[in-house]
Symmetry: C2
Subunit: 314 residues, 2 copies
């Protein structure tokens, strides 16, 4: 599913990067031509080899040499996956606004093992748990939903209990009818059931009540922020590529691009499901994602985005 | 801290066990003399070697050959540690009564890594998550406390934030004054902070308000079951040996021993902190634990308990 092609010689990469930093100015093109085309394992080896060879943390050097959106995309791209998730989650607890869906996104689109790795990286880096920061820095209904989403070690198996799907579809429908959107039962189902089980429950909901659950939630109040988070949660758990397509679409279609969101989705999904997101983007917008990015961004930031998204596969 | 001495030759152990099952009746003494004196790694190897040699699961054979309390102690003793925790936790969600503190005990006396291993064993064995069973089978205040206790991947480090300890001691005191024992903030502190941080907070509580927090909770209502769970939670997080001493004391001092509790504590703590529990027991009861067990139990069950508790070190 990756848009990145493996390429050899870590030593050579390090030498080239070193050259890119030498003299007046920085050779951004060279940096993009290397780092934009290396997969996660290769980037990790480049960081380790660079530190061993030059006694410097490549991330710190990049931080000194680069700036603004280009700096951020290179930084996120170079972090280890669990480190990156920990970093994004921590940022999100610190500048918490109710519309910020990053914590939910990390909790719901990573496997149990990946979320655990992010929590371990969080312990190592911040000397505390992700859960305590989420519990402390969020509140009200948002906390009631986000805390269990972040905390639970979700079962990843494919087994589905159809009678449970039926009874829990009924519970979800009742709670939505009662406008009890943060009801304990509703949150319990969303936060603790496996993705396969939740998909079965939502299909059952559709069969028994004639609508997609997100349609009912949208009809209830299309502008309510908690409902919007709830819809995004259902989407992330069952059709993450649609959720990410929408995040990118909204980031690009805004007056002034939302570079934060665009950078986050591109760096975190490139090696996971970018192909599916691109397919979804093309279907929904009738424009290939790379063309849309090229139209809306520029300079080194644009070049790095396109290198990661993988123009040739679009 | 273990009361178990390592002894060699797994093959010989398997042959002896095989002999113990042969002919009419079972040689329980032989089983105790072997399994009662092997550590966790050795028991694991015995299970694997037995299966490879005789094509039988030793646990199933033991199940057929043994009965009642003796069967249960041998079974729990022979399970891998994470498997055993998963088994106990699952039993506890199935026969949930509000006075059942086993889920809290497992959540609060295991390290983050051990609790995670138990959750992974739970996934493998029951094809679902511990969290979904806890959320589904507990309710009310008990669920509000137990769910986050079980779910959180707690930070295990030693760092302590003293100003946080001061502010959170104040929150705890306020909530207890207001009799808001299941307040979100109180639960958040208990469920998400590291053990080191909670200890610092409770020390601060004692300094600032002149009492141990558990004294205040007991004074509020000594018979309330939720308050009793709350007190036990504070104890498990800060002084587990005292919690376990009390569980054993109450199991033994009952009219009719509580074999379930006694077996659970002996099998789960033997290789962790049994020495500290025995010290605590002697201090609190003026009788060594092995003498108390010998007085209150009998037969093969007694012999197995004493073998595990490690008479010679008492």
């Amino acid at each position: 599913m990756s848009s990145i092609q493996p390429v050899p010689s870590v030593t050579e990469d390090c030498e080239q990067l070193r050259k890119a930093f030498e003299g007046w100015g920085t050779n951004e093109g060279l940096i993009i031509s290397i780092l934009g085309h290396r997969n996660a394992d290769q980037r990790k080896m480049i960081r380790a080899t660079y530190a061993a060879t030059y006694g410097e943390d490549l991330l710190k050097t990049l931080d000194k040499e680069l700036s603004s959106d280009f700096e951020r995309i290179v930084y996120l791209w170079m972090l280890d996956i669990p480190e990156r998730d920990a970093h994004l989650a921590n940022e999100s607890t610190k500048k918490w606004t109710s519309s910020n869906q990053v914590l939910m996104e990390i909790a719901c689109t990573r496997s149990a093992q990946q979320l655990l790795a992010a929590k371990q990286a969080y312990h190592a880096k911040f000397k505390k748990s992700l859960e305590e920061d989420v519990a402390q820095h969020t509140s009200g209904n948002f906390c009631k939903l986000l805390f269990p989403l972040v905390a639970v070690y979700r079962y990843d198996g494919d087994e589905v209990n159809m009678s449970l799907a039926k009874s829990e579809a009924k519970i979800l429908h009742e709670k939505i009818q009662q406008k009890a959107y943060c009801d304990e039962q509703l949150v319990r189902i969303l936060a603790t059931r496996s993705r396969a089980q939740i998909s079965a429950t939502l299909n059952q909901y559709n069969n028994d009540f004639g609508h997609d659950i997100n349609k009912d939630l949208k009809a209830a109040d299309p502008k309510d922020e908690f409902l919007s988070l709830l819809r995004a949660t259902f989407k992330c758990l069952t059709r993450p590529e649609r959720y990410f397509e929408k995040v990118i679409r909204q980031a690009i279609n805004k007056l002034g691009t939302d570079e934060g969101a665009l950078t986050r989705v591109v760096t975190t999904r490139a090696e996971v499901d970018m192909k599916r997101i691109k397919d979804e983007y093309l279907k929904r917008n009738s424009v290939p994602l790379d063309k849309a990015i090229a139209k809306d961004t520029n300079g080194d930031y644009e070049k790095m985005l396109l290198a990661i998204v993988g123009r040739e596969n679009a």
